[in-house]
Amino acid sequence: MLKKTTLSLTATVSVLCAVLLAGEAMAGGAKIQKADGPSPGKVLRESVKKFVKANSYRVKAEIVGGFSDREDHKVTDGKVKEAYEAEVYGKLMHLPKEKAFRTGKTGAAYVDGAWRYIQSNLKTVRFQRLFPYPRVLLGRALASSRTARWVQHKKAPVNLLEGGDDGKVDKKKSKKKKKKKRKIKKKKKSSSATVVEKDTVAKKAETKTDPNAFRFLRVDAPPKEALRHFIEVQNSHCFGVG
């Protein structure tokens, strides 16, 4: 009797263990699937480390701001459009076009025939506030690295303003685009289902083998950080003083 009960007990315990192990293995499998590709946070940390070590670089900045009524936040009513080019060597930033030097919080600019503090002129204050050092932006992104995730590679260059330079949508262009889209839709409908299936399989294979699949990282900043950055932008007086 005792032998029978011990045997049945050991059997149930072993079954339970097997179930638990299987469950863990499944969970582990899901984790492996989730962690497909390099860890975005780790890659960001390594990248920032290498960036800091590089010590010198060239930077081109394009800043576009205004109002948007779109979900993708593209500017539809442009108010600010600035472009800067600079060389950075250690903490020193040189903006040749603006005839200015910056060292983080302070700077000097050649205005009206004399070297002056960067904060003494509205124009120079604008780029001091509107154009933060890349290391500052990377530092902020790094602080929120836990939200980092891989995003799809964008093939087309990003047009920051909707409809071109002045922020107004070119109606002719948009009409042409719509026509093209309609044509593509019609073509898609006429093609057979097997072709569509093949396309999706090919796309999946492409993302698996694409070396650029892990090239773009997105980091979401907390609202406090966003507000701090927004106050900096407002203090640049780019929307006008007051």
Partner: protein, 82 residues
């Protein structure tokens, strides 16, 4: 800008990292703020309606190749004082 809703601001960074050099080659920062009574939001995220948007697109290159710039004396004085 007095109608800005400062309690509803979002921002995110899109960073392009060169897989070969592991260096960041572009940083695209998007900064958005809601306008009272005009923006649409889901929780703390602005999803549409009229809102303020700023895009900062940085392109980085020539890592380690830039030589130290020559700073004029007067500018150097100002930089040292600041």
């Amino acid at each position: 800008m007095s109608r800005l809703d400062r309690s509803l601001t979002n921002s995110y960074y899109e960073i392009e990292i060169d897989p070969e050099t592991q260096l960041p080659v572009s940083i695209n920062t998007v900064l958005i703020a809601a306008i009272k009574g005009e923006s649409e939001a889901k929780g703390k995220k602005i999803v549409g309606g009229r809102h303020v948007a700023f895009h900062f697109k940085y392109t980085l290159s020539d890592f380690g190749k830039v030589k130290p710039p020559s700073v004029p004396k007067e500018a150097r004085k100002l930089l040292a004082r600041g």
